[in-house]
């Protein structure tokens, strides 16, 4: 097993609006949302009703099938509103925060064995941060993962720089690693040369270099210990690893994070200290005609100006909606304002230039024509186009053969970006995964 990964394929998208490493604002919690929709595979059952008082760490809802999995409140306060959507689908529980925060005490004692670690994670609500592969769903407490993978950095466009946001949490991160190590061997991928997290102990460290998606944990797993049929791997973000360690070290659930406010349409870029569930309009000013993406520009969720920061998100990307139509855009010899990774345009002349990207598709949907572009941005041992076509055809056997166990939509997000035929590759892969879950259950 090699400890180093030098990936060549991929693409760093040159988008404007990187967050400079400084805190520009600290949001004092007022209304905070707990969103069950952040967790794939969770069927929520409410544990509170409007008017109930909760502490930071009190359970708010549980999974219907596995009631030991809890979602907890990140703040202490009063349940103000239960938000439901169509067919009474539970969308969020809004909690009005108290002026003075009270925390549930989980006891600051290092758990002795795997059972105690699981119990602590379930009780604190941090279980939700464990993602199970294949399929990228909420981890099953009964499952026996062969390994737990953590990517200590992100290569996604404008992603929060963990070397800045989490470097002060080293002690917590180490405590988290020690605890998870009791469940399964822990692998941590660090950026090659000069990562702040190169000193983590009790885990196998892998140095990774290369363009996006080298920082994606899925890509790293596929090179280090590919997931085969029947195998299970858990992943967790460094952010939540630190939160786990924090509970162990202090007994308090603290999900406060430095959120990178990024993107060409951001009024001011930088880091904002906030809790998950904070209304995005409290985090940053949003102008008319701007899309607020929770996460990065490739895989993030369109939160809307009235939305709330998600459980997993430590980044907001603000993008102008690209309704403007360009005259003869495709026929112009040079389009200095539009980036293309293809050599059919001349972006290669200005490799350092950052672009003011918007959400325009830059073309109409077509059948697949050029397909080599997918392979060029997928540093995995799979044929993306065959996997995509197997998903489109709902052919389970072929999906298995072509590597559905190894990918999540995020790992093929760049295919969305580069495709001249403007196919929705991530949606196709997700559809395939959903079918696998249904058929293999």
């Amino acid at each position: 097993m090699s400890n180093n990964l030098d990936l060549k394929k991929g693409l760093n998208i040159p988008i404007k609006g990187v967050a400079a490493p400084e805190v520009i604002k600290t949001v004092v919690p007022d209304i905070v949302a707990v969103k069950p929709t952040c967790f794939k595979g969770l069927v929520p059952r409410l544990l509170v009703k409007e008017g109930d008082a909760v502490k930071a760490g009190s359970p708010v809802m549980a999974d219907k099938q596995r009631p030991e999995i809890l979602l907890t409140s990140p703040v202490s306060g009063t349940v103000q509103q239960i938000v439901r959507g169509e067919k009474r689908k539970l969308l969020a529980v809004l909690i009005k925060a108290d002026a003075k925060q009270e925390y549930v005490d989980f006891g600051s004692k290092a758990p002795a064995d795997a059972a105690q670690v699981k119990e602590l994670l379930l009780n604190t609500g941090l279980w939700g941060s464990l993602i199970q592969r294949p399929y990228g769903v909420l981890a099953d407490p009964q499952a026996a993962p062969k390994a737990i993978f953590i990517s200590s950095f992100s290569t996604a466009p404008l992603a929060a720089d963990t070397d800045y946001t989490l470097v002060e949490s080293m002690k917590d991160i180490q405590a988290g690693v020690d605890a998870l190590g009791k469940i399964a061997p822990v692998h941590i991928c660090v950026r090659k040369a000069g990562s702040a997290f190169g000193g983590i102990k009790n885990a196998t460290l892998h140095e990774v270099s290369g363009p996006h998606p080298a920082g994606n944990v899925g890509v790293q797993i596929s090179h280090i210990a590919p997931i085969r049929k029947g195998e299970i791997v858990w992943t967790v973000s460094l952010l939540h690893l630190a939160a786990m360690g924090h509970v162990i070290n202090t007994g308090k659930l603290d999900l406060t994070r430095k959120v990178a406010v990024t993107g060409p349409a951001a009024a001011k870029t930088g880091y904002v200290v906030a809790l998950p569930g904070t209304p995005v309009k409290d985090i940053t000013d949003i102008k008319e005609g701007v899309r607020v993406v929770g996460g990065d520009a490739l895989t993030g969720e369109n939160l809307g100006a009235e939305g709330y920061l998600g459980f997993f998100e430590d980044q907001l990307t603000l993008l102008k909606e690209g309704y403007k139509r360009e005259w003869l855009g495709w026929a112009k010899p040079i389009r200095p304002k539009v980036y293309s990774s293809s050599w059919c345009y001349f972006s290669w002349l200005t490799p350092r230039k950052k672009y003011n990207m918007d959400t325009n598709l830059h073309g109409g949907p077509r059948a697949f024509v050029e397909t080599k572009c997918f392979e060029d941005v997928t540093p995995m041992d799979i044929f993306p186009i065959y996997l995509i076509k197997a998903c489109l055809a709902s052919d389970i056997e072929k999906m298995e053969k072509f590597g559905i166990y190894e990918v999540l939509p995020e790992d093929l997000a760049l295919c969305d970006f580069v495709d001249p035929s403007k196919n929705e590759i991530q949606a196709i892969i997700q559809k395939g995964i959903d079918l696998m879950i249904k058929e293999m259950a």
Binding site: A225, W330, G364, D419, P420, Q426
Partner: protein, 374 residues
């Protein structure tokens, strides 16, 4: 688009012109929020641009061949404009017929008009004899667009290269207009109505009949350099190696066509040409195969069509090699018909999914083995 509601039954056509003029204002709804500036229109226009050198040279060569053969003593511009005027009706017929069917089919399917025909429509006039009757051309275009493209679902779904099928249709339906030694030099519109057609065999045909002069390296009256520059009779686009290489440079640089297919096709042609020489099937050196007939044009512009070629990278090497090898096999060991490129590519178009299947199967079984040992 906005016009959709006002003009419900012909919105594909409206959209086609609308998006031709302005990039659609559609924003990403799911998946990646930002997208690359590339679209299929740009990809296709790149191929057309790559074809322009071959087309321009071909027009000049049409005039040149007529002028030389009939002793007309034309100047450069006279030759070029004669060629241009002869080619224009072919382009017009190819585009009008092809696009009409394309628009109608998109309308029936309720999809946007695909720009794939921009390339096909440009290719077809370049690979047929310049004096081919326009009604034949129209028939061939209609056949290939309907039965090779639209019935499969349009660009991206077709199995065979539509431009080549149009040529094959003409070749098998109207052989007298498509083969023989008098079809490759234009005399229509040259004021030669009463004059008998002069036989002007292509170097490929001459070489096939064995008229190769080993001492001078000339095939009939044509030297190697004549063939390299393209001052020889043949289909309009195929004669000049220099013009085709310019196009190849554009295609490879922009990444629109696969250099692997081009290189392996040339390698396959050279190898079989060399073997043929050793076996005594021909006296012509193997590298002559590259400059004679449509070999290079086919390798660069036709075999590389991303829809009908192999899609795996390993598959591209195999596919290209077999295209080149088969083309020369047909040239050397076929008593009647000397241009093998067209049928070699069409055959390999048929085989491409099989090649890909083998490559992908080998890959998945290797992955499965790795899983057992891991």
């Amino acid at each position: 688009m906005a016009d959709e509601k006002k003009t419900p039954w012909w919105h594909s056509t409206v959209d086609a012109f609308d998006t031709f003029l302005r990039v659609p204002g559609t924003v990403s709804a799911k998946g990646a929020h930002v997208r690359d500036g590339i679209d299929l229109k740009r990809v296709m226009i790149m191929v057309v641009i790559a074809l322009v050198p071959a087309a321009l040279f071909g027009m000049y060569n049409v005039g040149l061949q007529t002028s030389t053969l009939y002793n007309l003593d034309w100047g450069f511009w006279h030759m070029f404009f004669y060629g241009l005027l002869r080619m224009l009706p072919l382009f017009v017929v190819s585009y009008v017929v092809g696009l009409a069917i394309e628009f109608a089919s998109s309308q029936i399917r309720g999809e946007e008009v695909n720009e794939g025909y921009l390339v096909t429509g440009f290719l077809i006039p370049l690979i047929v004899p310049v004096d081919v009757p326009l009604w034949m051309l129209a028939l061939a275009v209609a056949f290939s667009v309907i039965f090779v493209k639209e019935v499969f679902g349009g660009t991206g779904m077709n199995i065979w290269n539509p431009a080549l099928v149009a040529r094959a249709f003409l070749f098998f339906s109207y052989p007298s207009s498509m083969s023989g030694s008098s079809v490759w030099v234009s005399k229509t519109w040259a004021g030669l109505d009463g004059v008998d057609a002069i036989s002007a065999a292509t170097p490929l045909a001459i070489a096939h009949d064995g008229a190769f002069d080993a001492a001078t390296g000339a095939v009939g009256q044509y030297s190697f350099m004549d063939m390299f520059y393209g001052f020889i009779p043949g289909s309009t686009g195929e004669t000049s190696v220099i013009a085709i290489l310019l196009g190849a440079l554009i295609l490879v640089w922009t990444g629109v066509a696969s250099w692997k297919i081009m290189v392996s096709s040339i390698a396959g042609g050279l190898l079989v040409g060399w073997l043929g020489q050793l076996a005594g099937a021909t006296a012509v050196p193997c590298y002559y195969q590259l400059v004679m007939g449509g070999f290079l044009f086919g390798s660069v512009f036709m075999a590389t069509d991303p829809v009908t070629a192999a899609q795996t990278e390993t598959g591209k090497w195999i596919y290209g090699f077999l295209v080149g090898a088969l083309a020369v096999v047909v040239r050397l060991w076929n008593p009647g018909y000397m241009e093998g490129m067209m049928l070699a590519i069409l055959l390999m178009n048929t085989m491409a999914p099989l090649i890909d299947h083998c490559v992908v199967s080998a890959h998945t079984s290797r992955r499965a083995k790795k899983a057992l040992t891991a």
